[in-house]
Amino acid sequence: MISTLAMLFIAKIQLPKRKIAQENDSLGIFSRAIELRYPGQRGLSDRVVELGLATASELKLDSIDLRNIETAALVRDIGLCAVPWAMVNYKGKQNWTTAEFATYDQRLLAGAAMLEKIPTLKHLAPILRAVYEICPSAPAPITKRIPVSSMVLGVVERYLITERLADASQAKEVLAKESGIRYDPKVVEAFFRVLPVHSVKEKVEAIV
């Protein structure tokens, strides 16, 4: 009886904590690797995580979806290793051609293919593939239902990339225009509700 209770405590409380700590350790490694390859991406993953979790909480998604969004946001760029180094580091996104943007978006498929080979991360592969389906450069029109985790990540990423290329107001315009066409209106609305809070925080942190 005592040994069963002890094992229950270890299985339900201690080991899951260690597992999450270990996962976060690994995710930190992947983020550092990508940020070293592409210094221009520095900070982008953290913002995707922050805004993605805020949007998901606003949509009242469950804890499993929240964890999936967090981990997918941190691993979504591992496929960037398939994007030529010079394209991102020498040229810069503002000078990319349409074909180069398409190459950049393909990183999601490359990342999904890599994740398929990792047992504890392969559940994230379909999320990344679905994010690719709603990318601007995706070839086919959207005909199937996109999982909400992927929709959240797709919306957040589109906003942040457009904001870096142009500015915040243009980024919002793009999302509003594509709402109902490429993106789920509920997700876009939830994102717009959380955005002011997280944009203010960023400005305050920058000043401080």
């Binding site: 080991l15 597992k19 270990q22 992947f30 070293l36 290793c81």
Partner: protein, 427 residues
Amino acid sequence: MKPKQLNRRRQRYISIPLLWGVALILCISTLWGQKFLPMVTLDALIILALAIISELRPVHFERDGFHLILSMPFLIGLLVIGGPIAFVVAEASICITAILMQYSGQKRKMGLRLITLNLPISLISSCFAVMSYSLVQRISNSPREWVFATVIAVAVYEFTNCFSVLLVNSISRKSSVSGEFIRSYKTILAGVIVLIFVALATASLIHEKRVVLLPVLLAPILMLRKLAKEQMAIDNAGYETMVTLTLMLQRAHPYSHGHLGRVGLIAEEVGQRLGISHRRSRLLREAAVLHDIGKIAIDEKILDKPAKLTDEEYEHVKLHASYGAEILQGSKRFKEIVPWIRFHHERPDGRGYPSQLSDIEIPLESKIISVADAFDAMVGTEHEESQRSYRVPKTIDEGLAELERCSGTQFDPSVVAAFKEVILSAR
């Protein structure tokens, strides 16, 4: 524990015949003259059912090469009420049934191969358990002699089983049994302690004629199973991180295909030959697999350039050693190997990079990685993707000659000597 297929040839021609020989001798000597009691009582059927349920979904420790088996506490009950023959026959039957249930359809052939390996181990462990149980009963005068007999029988079974599996693994991997034990001892000890407690509870309920309460004991067994799976997931996380990093590097730089794994294997062997502990040589292997991870941040066009690099390009490439350390340094799991990766291009003559360390400042592990890395870069394999664009591969003898030529300047002489021994003994 049950060993999985690690090296078929070694298993087929060494381990399996040896195991079957020992198993047959033990079965004959242990069971000869024993009575076979019919096992159709309700008590026996309950115990048998519980043993089968425990064994239905074992935990696979893929990389360590064994499954954790959980039916032993209930099988001890069969030893108590049914005698030695019933116990051994039930254990053997459950072993076969569990494997066949897991490996059905297309995997049936693999299942049959596993049975030839696992069945003799089960028989050997069961016979030793029977012998120890009988011995304790004979020599003990205590009214609760069944307690000691149960504890001893379960402990003997589990440790014989573990030792046999580790022996098979060490033969397959060409490593020492102690090395194999160090890889897995935590899992083994924790499991054995819980199984002993459950076996004691089983024997106690049987002695008190309350066999119908035995199903309650499935709770700790299933909990142990869950714990083992969670622990395995945590243990695998570090390995999976390494796999992901190597996949990322291979996407950026396809020539690294195979190179990292080969350098890892050779480095571990050289480390053991130089007397590094098992634990450190396992870490050395990880460091060797990850030594070039910093190249994720290097322009692949420069790395693959067939012509001589400019000074600027060479400075860019040299950054990979520091980048590799930077990628891993925030990690608790890999913090011990960070300096080995950072300094794997340092030289005993002080002309290395990134820090121009002197000979005594360079970790031995970095020196080993340096030699293994250089050799594999020179020699590589016939695999097209792993051949460097800027150089024609050398033969093994040419590669060893080059190491010898640079011994004392670029490479540590004792490491070169150990490396040569490893390569020549593998030929």
